[in-house]
Symmetry: C2
Subunit: 145 residues, 2 copies
């Protein structure tokens, strides 16, 4: 009963609630991204870890956990999987040998490049001015604490 659903959609107070809209938009984006990444054996989570491991100064697991708002124990599993596939490597941080630096391998870089091409840009259908505002405001909302 699509018409009835549409009525609920348009009329309800929820449909204009910012938190709700934020959640629904991000769920839709994540589902799309997961579908696009599936052929590469990645999900949004593992893609996120891989994309951090690409950086010139690769992060420790602790930094990954903080940045992705995950528990350190979840990062262990994600890195285990990527390491098992040869996409990243773990190495003790010379400055603090308790910490492990997670860096992408050559193969990891290659998979990342392919993945990045597949992940749809949420902004691509937007008016450029709107896209710029969205980018700026989301960075504000995503990192305020």
């Amino acid at each position: 009963m699509t018409t009835a659903e549409a009525e609920v959609t348009r009329g309800s107070a929820l449909a204009h609630n910012a938190s709700f809209l934020l959640t629904r938009a991000s769920v839709l984006a994540a589902q799309r991204d997961n579908r696009m990444l599936e052929p590469l054996g990645l999900k949004v989570r593992s893609y996120s870890v891989l994309s951090l491991a690409i950086e010139d100064v690769p992060p420790t697991q602790r930094e990954i956990a903080e940045f992705l708002r995950l528990d350190p124990s979840q990062v262990v599993a994600l890195v285990d999987e990527l390491e098992g596939r040869g996409l990243v490597s773990r190495a003790p941080d010379p400055r603090d040998r308790r910490a492990k630096v997670v860096a992408a391998t050559a193969q990891g870089r290659s998979v990342y490049d392919e993945a990045r091409g597949r992940v749809v840009d949420v902004m691509s259908h937007l008016d450029p001015d709107d896209a710029a505002t969205l980018q700026r405001v989301l960075e504000q909302l995503a990192f305020e604490e």
Copy 2:
């Protein structure tokens, strides 16, 4: 090591990825909302169901499921809980007696009003023009399929 975390935050490609920002912003908002709703025995999910049940034309469970992008079986559990607390009632839809309409009770309305006052508006710290743009663009992103 907060400084290192900040470097990763600012420098990484991920930090500028729209999907990622969307997800991080919505997770932060949901966590805040959950904390604010906890004293009322609600979470974002049950609050969402309650707020739909408030509407003048209350929805069926199927409509709730489609709108919230949940499986119908999850809606059963959410409505069970709210009904058990006397906040909503289930009634067969006269037009299709297979379907059940979920409507808020007087007590449900009262709890909803209190909840709505507690849920922080994501927009409240934003520049008014930015807030208006965000609202419009999020509605676009949240309901495009």
